[in-house]
């Protein structure tokens, strides 16, 4: 009898844990980054390698440094921030797979997508998972009222602001007639985004938008596209892509000797940057005008937030601080400010991405970004982080500010979103 009892106990002792373990393993209920203390997770899917690394690497540094500061101060109402950053290596499948793996981590509230296609691939899943997405400049977030927010100004709104700048510049030059405007960017969702609403805005202005030119990501020679735009009489040419792409375009334009007669302009934020184009080819990128929703160049180095860089990156020269670092800081500040608002309304236990998204919508005009970007524009009807850009001109190896914050037109609303 005793033996039977022992056998029964042994069976239970062995079989049930095995069964439970198998179940947890198969259904993914094992702990993934579970935190013993109260924490809220910020999932960042960023390309540390590949064509957009020049944005992602400094941006992640900004997020990392600011979250370290917050945690060193004891977190937000005692809640620490768990920053999960994944190298997606310029691959959407990798981002989708990593999202699947990490989304059920400890209170994941936000998924920061560093690439336009990531958000497009995962938008529906984030909504279901009550995690909201952060997107670079994709106007679709606003146009389709997706559950997420843009980092700052959208590409098309910035494009429209640049068109206004062109009209003003053209008038000041007193040339007369209508300026002809070319557009040259990556053959990708990002490359085309500026025109979804931007083209409609252009149609309302006294200018001629030439047929846009697109080239494969990674192209090193842009001669044929520039030749076509120059032949068609372009007075202004938008140059897209992430640095070094805009720099490579300018190298070709410089070689073709068309930089004297054509004003090159970048509406989509990502270059030529101080650490790449301006440093390596100052004479070739000279006179390029950049619109930016975040401060760049000399202004960025002088902003008080540069102390964060000095504190956390003693071995990295301040000259390596690019504006993208401040986007990271601004996004981390958004998370902090949003959590503070959310925790006034709900307990830690009830905190989820939907609650935090509602809190973000209450940050309209909040000063928490401290001038690193234009005024915070999140609201119940606005997904955009900012509705302002500054204009900069690259001159003699420096990126000099040539305007204060300028309100951008709402080009997103001019596009018909399917």
């Amino acid at each position: 009898m005793k033996e039977i009892k022992h056998r029964k106990t042994g069976f239970v002792a062995v079989a049930l844990p095995v069964l439970l373990g198998l179940y947890l393993m198969l259904f993914g209920l094992t702990s993934r980054g579970e935190c013993a203390e109260k924490a809220a997770s910020f999932l960042c899917l960023a390309d540390y390698t590949g064509p957009v690394a020049a944005i992602s690497v400094p941006l992640v540094k900004g997020e990392t440094d600011y979250f370290k500061e917050v945690n060193a101060r004891g977190g937000i109402n005692g809640i620490k921030i768990n920053f999960i950053n994944i190298d997606t290596r310029y691959n959407v499948a990798r981002a989708v797979s990593a999202y699947r793996r990490y989304r059920k981590g400890h209170k994941v509230l936000v998924a920061d997508f560093h690439s336009t296609p990531f958000g497009k691939a995962l938008g529906r899943d984030t909504k279901r998972d009550k995690i909201f997405g952060l997107y670079p400049g994709d106007g679709e977030v606003q146009g389709k009222d997706l559950p997420g927010f843009n980092w700052g100004t959208t590409y098309q709104d910035s494009f429209a602001a640049c068109l206004d700048w062109i009209i003003k510049d053209w008038k000041e030059k007193g040339t007369g007639g209508r300026p002809k405007v070319g557009y040259l960017s990556w053959d990708s969702a990002y490359g085309r985004e500026s025109l979804r609403g931007g083209k409609e805005y252009a149609d309302t202005l006294p200018l001629t938008l030439l047929k846009p030119e697109f080239f494969p990501v990674g192209s090193l020679d842009h001669t044929v596209y520039l030749q076509r735009l120059a032949k068609n009489g372009a007075n202004y040419i938008f140059i897209g892509g992430v640095d070094p792409t805009p720099t490579n375009i300018m190298k070709d334009a410089y070689r073709m000797r068309i930089t004297k007669n054509i004003q090159f302009i970048n509406n989509s934020f990502w270059g030529p940057t101080k650490s790449v184009g301006v440093r390596m080819h100052p004479e070739k990128v000279n006179n390029v005008v950049r619109a930016s929703f975040f401060i760049v160049g000399e202004e960025a180095e002088k902003h008080p937030a540069h102390k964060l860089w000095l504190k956390h990156r003693p071995n990295e020269p301040i000259s390596d601080l690019t504006g993208a670092y401040y986007i990271g800081v601004a996004l981390a500040k958004d998370f902090e400010a949003g959590l503070k608002v959310a925790l006034k309304n709900v307990s830690y236990e009830d905190l989820d991405g939907e609650v935090l998204a509602d809190a973000y919508k209450q940050l309209t005009g909040s000063p928490h970004r401290e001038g690193l970007t234009g005024a915070c524009a999140f609201s119940p009807t606005n997904h955009r982080g900012s509705m302002e850009v500054k204009f900069y001109r690259i001159e003699n190896g420096k990126i000099n500010r040539i305007s204060d914050w300028v309100k951008v037109p709402d080009a997103v609303s001019m596009h018909k979103w399917d």
């Binding site: 290596r89 990798r94 981002a95 797979s97 699947r100 070094p244």
Partner: protein, 155 residues
Amino acid sequence: MKKMISTFVVITVALFLPLLVGCATSKISPAKTSLDFPGILKTPVEISGSGFKPNETVVVDLVLPAGVEIPGVEKGENVGLAFATADEKGDFSTKVDASAKLNFLFRVKWTPMMKPDFKTLNPIPPGTYNIKVTGMESGKSKTVPWEILPAPKKK
């Protein structure tokens, strides 16, 4: 003892019922792929399957065996090769793109000008790998073998 065993069976069936109902299937084509470069970039590697939840995101992962490391991927983590959205019947089909082949089969490094540096190709060891296909919503998954062959010797 009999009662104990029958209780165990009932619990087992209840816990694993989701796996027994509507099993997912998947396949990879070609089932044997050579690490021939650059030929592999032009060779379509297609993964298809059925039995997933209609319209859900389906993730295709390469299961990394112990000792095989890929830059940027933590040990024990699988690496995404492709993804798809299942159709209204729960079927899907997708292809491994060139970026995934370069990054994860050839472990390429990138130049300072952010282009893949073909001088740094470091193919994963040939052998039989597993491809795990998982439905994002349903959690249904299916694992299929994928044989990676060495590059043919150059004549």
